[in-house]
Amino acid sequence: LDPPCTNGTNLLDYLNMPEVRKAIHIPDHVQKFELCNDEVNMNFKREYDTMKPQYQYLTSKIRGLVYNGDIDMACNFLGDEWFVESLDLRVLEKRRMWHQGGQVGGFVKRFQNLDLVTVRGAGHMVPEDKPGPALKMLVSFLFKKPY
């Protein structure tokens, strides 16, 4: 089930080295490392169509961040934007650009207990595609600093 258009050979090679397994305390009886397990995937019982009830509960209790690399098509930013908007949360800050490294990092809109952020030019794996902006975004969220 490894994803198309990516190459995980280096991870497979590294994590399947006997000395690496030993260093990270993997018992001998444990299976060889695979990036994705097709048996798990095929048999997985998907019990939810939407996370709306969960978000409605969570946003009444704790802070959240929904972020999207804006050139991903597996879970695209527009769908998550629609989802967050559908929660009808109070808007704290209108949509605006945020910056990192002298460039536009993306866009942010802040709701009561939920920040909606895009990372410009990042795909599905945001911290890999745009590591600098991703770290800045994380810091802003964790430490309640402006994006």
Binding site: T6, N7, T9, G123
Partner: protein, 307 residues
């Protein structure tokens, strides 16, 4: 911290690191053993927040997160050595990578039972967290705690966060928040929006777009309220959506990064972040079957004048 889980000599690590790291197992439900890899903050581990990270799938390993995305070291193309990641998240937080559910990566079930689902996964993850905070790293129980992840973790993260909050009476964790990147939050909205996304990015033109709007939307204006690309039963809508979906997912574009190359590698026909995609395909397969059966029936009936 459990001395037996400490990583003392990591192969391929040729630079000095300023943090401690650990790898071992946490107890999930029914004896399941979930592999974790914990990297302490390189700044102030005692006071920095603790961030749990999970990759998606379902069925994919969070080692991708550690060794290719946000961890402090990343695997070089030689598959043997590691390089430093200056943007690692453990420069500001303690980061716990959890491989879940059982059978993913190095996690295992003692009975080799890999069948599971959303609820059992969130329960196992919750029990693993209890094991982490109660037995392995009790000194971190007071730290601010955040649950984060990517892709299908759009399901893992909220379901786990709800469990933690609802379980606070019995077991208190200092949960402060959650963060989800490119997460699956709604199949319907994800599938509806990708059609707009694809048209707005020029992946198909007006001819197909006009057919989509004409067959799948009410009124003449396309909007998220007016259009149903997700589960229409109108055959012409289904046909148009399939054409659009093929362009997005099946004709060689890199669905994870529209403007990046599509290198060949370990990738197969399916995807580790397939939650949304498999459902699109499954739905279309159902629709295609329906369409095909309808066509066959029409031919059988000899209803040549049917339009």
């Amino acid at each position: 911290a459990p001395a037996e889980d400490a990583i003392t000599d990591l192969p391929g690590l040729n630079h000095t690191i300023g943090f401690r790291h650990f790898s071992g197992y946490l107890n999930g439900a029914q004896g399941k053993q979930l592999h974790y890899w914990f990297v302490e903050s390189s700044r102030d581990p005692a006071n920095d927040p603790l961030v749990l990270w999970m990759n998606g799938g379902p069925g994919c390993s969070s080692m991708e997160g550690l060794l290719a995305e946000l961890g402090p070291y990343q695997v070089n193309v030689d598959g043997k050595t590691l390089r430093e990641n200056p943007y690692a998240w453990n420069t500001v937080a303690n980061v716990l990578f959890l491989e879940a559910p059982a059978c993913v990566g190095f996690s295992y079930d003692p009975n080799d039972d890999c069948r599971t689902g959303d609820d059992e996964t969130s329960l196992s993850n919750y029990l693993a967290l209890q094991d982490f905070f109660l037995h392995k790293f009790p000194e971190y129980r007071k730290n601010e705690f955040y649950i984060t992840g990517e892709s299908y973790a759009g399901i893992y993260v909220p379901t786990l966060a709800v469990r933690v909050l609802k379980g606070q009476k019995d077991f208190t964790i200092n949960l402060q928040g959650y963060a989800i990147g490119n997460g699956l939050s709604s199949y319907e909205l994800n599938d509806d929006s990708i059609i707009f996304f694809a048209y707005f990015h020029g992946l198909f033109g007006d001819e197909l777009w006009n057919r989509l709007v004409s067959h799948c939307c009410t009124g003449s204006r396309a909007s998220k309220e007016n259009c149903n690309f997700y589960n229409s039963y109108w055959p012409l809508c289904i046909k148009s959506v399939k054409e659009a979906s093929d362009i997005v997912y099946n004709e060689g574009l890199n669905m994870y990064n529209l403007y990046d190359d599509c290198p060949t590698g370990t990738g197969g026909n399916f995807t580790r972040y397939e939650a949304d995609l498999s459902n699109i395909l499954r739905k279309h397969k159902h629709h295609s079957d329906l369409l095909q059966k309808t066509k066959e029936r029409i031919v059988q009936l000899g209803e040549a004048n049917l339009t």
